[in-house]
């Protein structure tokens, strides 16, 4: 579904990603781990067009998306959340959900979109907050709202950047359920997390980044055994 080839991204003199290649199959959950500053967020930023790659390319359903803008990539069916949530603070929860409506309104009337957003909010158990302002929600609720907003676009591939960071344990279990359920519906995920328990239990395959380089990939079991990974990351 997604193919990344020899991706390189530099910020001035700093190489945040170097020659990273990998594939994600349809309906797979790929976990990405690595120490702080290893380039995980940058990888997502390049995939969804916030940054342009300096080298290499990205193919989504066999079409190159490396040069497209974020909104075009979003419309093609790649959604994402942010490590530090970015909801629209001066809009209500419902309005936040309806922002994507402008780009999808052709595929449904207002009623249908309203219905859809209520359905998603109900699924995420935040429908009671629908008239609250974005800024008055808690951190965990921001994460749920951001996921909800992503789902409005019906993406096939969802990139989650640290969805469990700073989230209440109960909510974390809920998030696990949501991811599993969406995965059951056929969605594909790239999941970034420092939460080892979560990422090892959710992911089918793992990729390890260190200083912008891919140092290992494999099943969770294989990664646990990998000497280099243990040294670079798990060891400390």
């Amino acid at each position: 579904m997604l193919k990344v080839t020899k991706l390189t991204k530099r910020f001035g003199g700093l190489t945040a990603l170097e020659n990273v290649s990998f594939k994600v199959a349809k309906n797979e959950i790929l976990g990405v781990i690595g120490p702080n500053g290893s380039g995980k967020t940058t990888l997502i930023n390049v995939i969804n067009g916030i940054h342009k790659p300096d080298n290499g390319d990205i193919f989504f359903r066999d079409k190159s998306i490396g040069r497209l803008s974020s909104y075009q990539i979003a419309k093609k069916g790649i959604g994402r959340t942010f490590q530090v949530t970015r909801i629209f603070r001066r809009m209500s929860v419902m309005e936040n959900m309806m922002v994507p409506a402008l780009s999808i309104s052709r595929s449904g009337n207002q009623e249908a979109l309203l219905h859809k957003s209520l359905g998603i909010l109900t699924l995420l158990k935040i429908v009671h907050l629908k008239d609250e302002y974005g800024r008055s929600l808690s951190g965990g609720q921001h994460k749920l709202l951001e996921l909800g907003r992503v789902l409005m676009l019906d993406p096939d591939l969802i990139l989650l950047d640290e969805p469990f960071a700073g989230v209440h344990p109960e909510l974390k279990a809920d998030l696990h359920d949501h991811i599993r359920k969406l995965h059951g519906q056929g969605k594909t995920f790239i999941l970034i997390s420092h939460d080892m328990h979560s990422i090892f239990s959710l992911s089918q395959r793992l990729m390890v980044l260190s200083s912008g380089k891919k140092i290992a990939h494999g099943t969770p079991e294989e990664i646990k055994q990998n000497e280099e990974v243990i040294e670079a990351y798990l060891g400390n």
């Binding site: 922002v99 994507p100 409506a101």
Partner: protein
Amino acid sequence: MTEYLLLQALNGLIIGLIYALMALGLTLIFSVLKIVNFAHGELYMLGAYFSYYLAKLFGFPPVLAVLSSMIIVFFIGVVIEVLFLRPVYTGAVERKDEYAILITFGLSIFLQNLALFVFGPWTRRSPSFMSGTTSVYSLSISNDRLFVSALAVVFMIATLVIIGRTFMGKGLRAVSQDREAAAIAGINPFKMNLLAFGAGSALAAAGGALIGPIFLIFPTMGAMPVIKSFVIIVLGGMGSIKGCIIASLILGEAESLGSVLFPDLTRGLAYKNAIGLLFLVVVLLVKPTGLFGEKHVRMK
């Protein structure tokens, strides 16, 4: 004296509404593009001239002339955005704030001189919307002024409804709050720029076209109102729509009443333009973010 004051208050309200149209346009542009449009006064001026010529030369009924003028200026705004401001968002220029200031400032001077060249230095006055006067108790006020106020309110409400209720409005607000997050949600930020600049320009044009039958039309007519609009958006708290409308009305009233309540009546009028600035200084001393400002907004 009371009658006179009431009349002045009413005039202040009308001026305030015109200011509000203009400042609303400036706010819309500022919120979405994070650019202060120094050519805003010239869009106001163009709005007045187009409306004047459409009515005078082509016999458009006044209201139709105003609307057509807004549409023309909308597209002028779109062209300006594509030609001059797009580079800010494609990363083609490095010092974005400085570039935007210089380019819109240059555009302002260019348009003033172009108007001088094309339309001439003479002052003009648009045909009236509605002749006669209306008397309420002992106050009499020209129908033109009433009509202008009503139209200004209609344009303002239309703008608020579009921004508050429609999908497009949500797109504009989303881009104004977080460009990248809006793009992730599938909103084309370039399209929103175009829309905001076009609509902002059209609002300035509406102000100019409406003022046409009441005040005079001349190439530099936008110079003073644009400064007022800057005062208003800072006073209202950069980017706040509610703040912008309230600040406009306050400024209109403060100027109108301030100049007649001034102790030395012979000089009151001369101080009119200073009153708004004085008020701004006082507000900023007490609340640096303006009346309804949240925090500092800056282009990334």
